[in-house]
Amino acid sequence: MAEMAPLPQSKPKNVRSRLLVAQLLVILIVLPYLANLIGQPALTSLATRIIILAIAAASLNLIMGYAGLASFGHAAWYGIGAYVVGILYRHSVTGDPLFGLQLGTNQLLMTLPVAIVVAGLFAAAFGALALRTSGVQFIMITLAFAQMIFFFFVALKAYGGDDGLIIRRTNVLPFLNTRDGLTFYWICLAVAVAWHAILLRIVGSRFGRVLEGIRQSERRMAAMGVRTYGYKLVACIISGMGAGLAGALMANHMRFVSPDMMHWTQSGEFMFMVILGGAGTWLGPAFGAAGLIGLESLLGAWTEHWQVILGPLLVLAILFTRGGLSGLMRMIRGGSRG
């Protein structure tokens, strides 16, 4: 170590980021107790919502931040995941067959995987078509697909149409009382941590390296001998699965599903979380979700014209924090990278 110049405040990068993760986890673990202590138990519910949205935003980040594919239809997979929960719940209550079979269930261990798989299948089918385009056309075609799915559910009177579906009871888990807000918070936190860990492995893998190469130069990737289409498609499927997971959790959290969950403004919010937090950074979308939803709630409690204030704040945040909130975090923590 003799040749390493000792710089006073620069710790190795991975130590710093591990410290950040540990700090975040501690904050998230004490948060519900703190909320009760200061007499704001509703904060736990707000935090649950942020954590769920962070799962969806982190999934969008895989294709938008890492692979450079700006999908404007992410809310479609999120909504499909939610509807899987709603529809399975409805059938478990009425006992009506679904596709001729008794498929209804209110077991979270069943509904979550089904939501993930169904959202992934839809993402595969639509992604396969959308990826024939690139750039602005890709943005528009993903938006068009998502709007198609939105209007399909608006018209789907059997499942409530634009009124949506009410889920009277949260899906159940063995040994745990999911109707308890705090328990559900822990479940969402555990799922979010697991999902972020999986994404960290994926972006650090050979597959993740190819995605980053695609963002920077598709032409170079072709010259390396890489057919990019398959990689982009698999990334779209993983991203859709993550959004489906988030949607399924949100349906349980709100105990309500409606086509509004897949409205294009919701897709826009996901994009915003990614950009605000820092596209192509691991925890950026989570910060983006917390920043956006936190500001919405704060300003919303203060004035009904909160959007007038939120808009300029977001513009400033993007202009002056290079790399979004993750960039800001690095600046505050004295990182060398801007």
């Binding site: 650090g204 893998s205 050979r206 597959f207 190819v210 920077q216 170079r220 010259a223």
Partner: protein, 250 residues
């Protein structure tokens, strides 16, 4: 004599009314450096585009190592053993030089549908990548992000990445363009060390470099090869002197 590594026959490409490639016939033998020279707009880069499968020719045939290349896309041709450098560099600007080469090695090793194991620190990628950087004269610059490298170093990195796929044929599109005198000399040295190990089609304006490296030279004018021969033949060819080497200029 054995079949050449690359055999191009009667290649034609029109862009609107412009005939960019006009009945072009050319071959590159295994292990030789074949230089392609010609004035600006002669169709050199268009020709490379057709060899790589980025541009589809209107007529003619390209054979490489005994296989017809017609209908194959760029990745397929790269896997057959053709690699190129870009005149206008195409690099992954946000990554380090070493990571750029490592990703090329990764692509050369097969598919990348591997989702779990960390790519960073994989010795099977970064070991060979460092070797390629060494060969291109960038040994000490591996950890530098591409956007912080000089133009000359970008050109060297292009070469390192082309080498990473262990090509049988290397297409170099003006590797000296924009280089200073010492950088040019360094590039010529790097290419000299490659000579004989892989066949090279060298598109270049720098005549000193061409005459230092080439076994054979073809002269391209308005999409047509007007002469092919040894450097001595080409220098002596009156047609070439008129068309290209500037005979008749004051």
């Amino acid at each position: 004599m054995a079949e050449p590594l690359l055999q191009v026959d009667n290649l034609v490409k029109n862009f609107g009314g412009v005939r960019a490639t006009d009945d072009l016939t050319l071959d590159v033998r295994a292990g030789e450096v074949h230089a392609l020279i010609g004035p600006n707009g002669a169709g050199k880069t268009t020709f490379i585009g057709q060899l790589m499968g980025e541009i589809v020719p209107d007529a003619g045939a390209i054979r490489f190592a005994g296989a017809r290349l017609g209908g194959l896309d760029t990745p397929a041709r790269v896997r057959l053993g053709i690699a190129r450098t870009f005149q206008i560099t195409q690099l992954l600007d946000e990554d380090t030089a070493l990571a750029n080469v490592a990703l090329t090695i990764q692509a050369h090793q097969g598919h990348s549908f591997r989702f779990w194991k960390k790519a960073a620190g994989d010795a099977s990628l970064f070991g060979p990548a460092q070797t390629c950087l060494d060969a291109a004269g960038l040994a000490a610059r591996g950890a530098v992000p591409v956007r912080d490298l000089s133009h000359g170093e970008h050109k060297q990195l292009e070469l390192a990445m082309a080498l990473a796929s262990e090509p049988k044929l290397l297409l170099l599109d003006e590797p000296m363009a924009g280089l200073g005198a010492s950088e040019s000399r360094q590039m010529v040295e790097s290419l000299k060390r490659l000579k004989g190990r892989t066949a090279i089609l060298l598109v270049e304006h720098d005549m000193d470099a061409v005459f230092a490296l080439a076994d054979r030279i073809s002269v391209l004018v308005y999409g047509k090869v007007i002469a092919t021969g040894t450097p001595a033949d080409i220098q002596a060819n009156p047609q070439v002197r008129v068309a290209y080497l500037g005979e008749g200029d004051a």
